[in-house]
Subunit: 177 residues, 2 copies
């Protein structure tokens, strides 16, 4: 039913193959028959976890993000390893970044972060019944974990101090749970 | 206060300069003194608008997104033109994509969509007091506009039929308005 909206693939040119992303330039045919070029950043996909403590507070991590040049407050997240399932990745990243495991880890949604230029998809999980293990941060990750009440988080978003789209998407899913 | 988290810039290598994105590979120095490489997708930034009709319904656009190979349901959005202010861009994109202008167009937040690999920022606007003008879609844009109640939108998110992170972030901001 969407034939009048669809672009069809004509050709692809691989520009870069990297550690995290690849870059491709495709030629597509538009619904009106004209051709256009489309840059596509290929990403392996990721997970992000909304960890809810028994008292209702949510764990967030503070981490320097080089592309934006600042420390951001985010839900724990990480890229899928090759061949890794989203469920396994969510359990691994939650423990590596926060030092908690969850008895209940439920996938709530899978969202596209920048569908105009990248295929990145983030699988969003809700983690309940958390229990503490040992923090095992990745060798290259330097982060701080904190627990925030829903009211504190609403204020942080309103004041622009929490400005990560996957995290705010997760908050919507949590409210609607 | 965040010195123990910060990465410092060492060097940059420009890999690609494109129509929408550029790609850079940077070397950074980690807090522990080791060096690491960071791929950075440079993006011009964008706006997205949550257009609320007088009856409370929200305008969404359906549009084919080549990077993810499917038609997505999203709030109207678009990239900043060179030198264009976010406010001007929001007014322009709202009219181009939906055929409506807003008497009230208020910036609610600016969010990062993929801070691990791109500097893209999306300025999210709430548009009230809409009035119809003529639809002037971009030459290369093929899209359909529809109006949805908040209940319909919650169901679409829950069923995975609305899966765009900027749109879901916008819904959080709207709920919290």
């Amino acid at each position: 039913m969407d034939e009048h909206l669809k672009e069809t693939f004509v050709s692809a040119e691989q520009i870069y193959s990297g550690k995290v992303v690849n870059l491709r330039r495709d030629i597509v045919c538009l619904p009106n028959g004209k051709q256009a070029s489309r840059e596509v950043v290929e990403h392996p996909g990721a997970v992000a976890i909304i960890p809810v403590l028994p008292d209702g507070r949510i764990l967030l991590v503070r981490q320097f993000r080089h592309p934006v040049g600042q420390v951001l407050l985010e839900i724990p997240a990480g890229k899928l390893d090759p061949g890794e399932s989203p469920d396994a990745c969510a359990a691994r990243e939650l423990e590596e970044e926060t030092g908690y495991r969850a008895k209940s880890l439920e996938r709530k949604a899978s969202v596209f972060t920048g569908p105009g230029f990248t295929n990145e998809v983030i699988h969003l999980y809700l983690a309940h019944d958390l229990f503490k293990t040992a923090v095992n941060p990745d060798e290259d990750e330097f982060l701080e974990v904190g627990a925030y009440t829903p009211e504190e988080i609403r204020r942080l978003v309103r004041e622009g101090l929490l400005c990560d789209a996957k995290t705010i998407s997760g908050l919507y899913l949590l409210q609607d749970d």
